[in-house]
């Protein structure tokens, strides 16, 4: 075999594993992490899974079980998960130069250059190193295509006989294992595709691999045809090493409590716009276009309202004051009294690199000076904590509409005042 070799490594129950890194007392007990706003379970330790807690179970439905079984519950702590994720990727890079960070807890590896090595052994070494260096348990899939590497990773996670590393390079291994994998577990096959495939009697990964690529394409678009080839061991997807240039930056949140007044709504929009401007500065881009939306809950009782409006800046900008200003003007046009608003968002599009900033024709703003101002504000907020310096329109830091995160663990690795304690008593 001379083709490419891909690996996929991902953190087991990643968020829960992050919570355990600094809490040895959480070893062996059920742990769950809740989504934004403490809504539903998004990560479950194996012990929590054994109690029957499902992905996406709403917190209020679990309350009794949580109490009875003493399940440890955490709000999402993205500062922690992001830092641990960065460490995991850095650890992988120490062994494999070509790493594609696919998501916060998954990375594709190009293992082609290690062909002559025992790759299962190398997979074990990778797992061992990530566990030692970062405290995160992982599983590894190895295969001639990304889709199969993902499938191998799934098998490594679900079936103990693989000891965390599943190698699908050999056609014999695939012939043996693919019939046992439900088709919905294949990367890129969602619920809608699964329903279509099942009507044709395509129930497993092996059935899908046996489908005519033409038929798969007409049924599931181009992606479908590609999946069939990939399942047969023919690589169609290369490793994506470059960070894609951002097409848009969106800051959208559900409120901790519904909003009834423009005062609260304007604070929410202003603070989302603030966050969007910060994100743009971090990525050194500016936006020419901005969209604001607000809506009521699609689930709650009562009258419903959903609307969006967009506008354009005179010149592309990432200046917080300008972004907040336009977002509020647009938001005011959307606002209607008499609704229980559940969510709002600010979406920046038509992004340009900062370096393409044009000299100002329209405004008398000294853009260089303003850019300097926001650099100072950003560095102050980096030192003193988010929103220490902010526009007054963004409202108080503890507004009731802000996300609920009542069970968030300390930001162990990113705050001086939240460092873990080493007991010497």
């Amino acid at each position: 075999m001379n083709g490419e070799i891909f690996g996929l490594i991902d953190g087991n129950n990643f968020y829960c594993s992050c919570e355990r890194v600094f809490r040895p007392d959480l070893e062996g007990v059920p742990v769950i992490v809740l989504s934004n706003n403490d809504g539903c379970a998004v990560s479950r330790s194996n012990e929590a899974k054994a109690l029957g807690i499902k992905m996406g179970d709403p917190e209020f439905k679990l309350r009794e079980l949580i109490k009875r079984e003493n399940v440890r519950v955490f709000s999402s702590n993205y500062a922690l998960y992001g830092d641990i994720s960065r460490r995991v990727v850095e650890t992988l890079t120490s062994m494999v130069p070509a790493v594609e960070t696919y998501s916060i807890d998954e990375s594709f590896l190009n293992l082609t250059e290690f062909r002559s090595r025992d790759l299962v052994e190398m997979g074990r070494e990778l797992r061992e190193r990530v566990l030692t260096w970062t405290g995160i348990p992982t599983c590894v899939g190895i295969a001639p295509t990304k889709t199969l590497a993902k499938l191998g990773n799934f098998l490594a996670k679900k079936r103990p006989q693989f000891c965390g590393v599943c190698d699908l390079r050999a056609a014999t291994a695939r012939a043996e294992l693919l019939p046992s994998v439900p088709v919905e577990e294949v990367w890129g096959i969602g619920a809608a595709s699964t329903a279509k495939l099942q009507k044709l009697g395509v129930a497993t990964a092996a059935d899908l691999a046996a489908l005519e690529p033409e038929q798969a394409r007409s049924l599931l678009t181009v992606t479908g045809g590609r999946v069939v080839y990939e399942l047969r061991g023919i690589s169609c997807l290369a490793l994506d090493l470059l960070e894609p240039t951002r097409k848009g930056i969106a800051v959208t949140r559900s409120f901790g409590n519904p909003i009834f007044t423009w005062q609260s709504m304007s604070e929410a929009i202003a603070s989302y716009a603030t966050r969007a401007a910060e994100k743009m500065r971090r990525h050194k881009v500016e936006a020419a276009h901005l969209l604001v939306f607000i809506h009521t809950s699609p689930f709650a009782e009562g009258p419903r309202y959903s609307n969006s409006v967009s506008g354009r800046f005179m010149e592309a900008t990432n200046d917080t004051a300008e972004v907040v200003g336009l977002a509020l003007r647009l938001g005011a046009r959307l606002w209607r009294d008499g609704y229980r608003y559940a969510k709002a968002g600010v979406v920046m599009t038509e992004l340009l690199p900062e370096t393409m900033r044009q000299p100002s024709l329209w405004s008398d703003l000294d853009r260089e000076k303003r850019a300097k101002l926001w650099r100072v504000v950003d560095s102050l907020n980096a030192d003193l904590g988010r929103d220490s310096v902010r526009l007054l329109s963004a409202g108080p830091t503890a507004a009731p509409w802000k996300l609920r995160a009542s069970h968030r663990s300390p930001r162990w690795t990113t705050r001086w005042d939240e460092l873990p304690k080493a007991c010497a008593k």
Binding site: R87, T91, S94, T132, K421, A422, A424
Partner: protein, 141 residues
Amino acid sequence: MRLQILERAADWPLVLPLFEGRIPAGFPSPAEDYAEVPLDLNEFLVQNKAATFLMRVDGDSMKDAGILDGDLLVVDRAAKPGSGSVVVVAVNGEYTVKRLRRTAEGVWLDPANARFQPMRVATDEELHIFGVVKHAIHTLR
């Protein structure tokens, strides 16, 4: 309009004059030719960035090892703990700082303060080491 290629831009040595900050009008600095990158404490404190974590000491059971209450610990998870290493280790579900000692009878976790007792750990399996303490940073207040 006809254009003729005279020379490829990529073939030029691209040297741009750098005028950063103020150019002293007087005599050029004699140190200029000896400019080096300033020292970075991270270089001294952190061998392995991915595996290094900071912790805060709570208590004085390690004071005779120069580790005082409130000190900042630089803990390396990649370093191999040997007999004599100061380690952060889980004891009763809590991370504590101790000195590791291996003897014929087993593994010991020693304090560095006469008021505290050494602890014996039966086997390596029961030893949950977080990492090896590489530096204790003490701030004078």
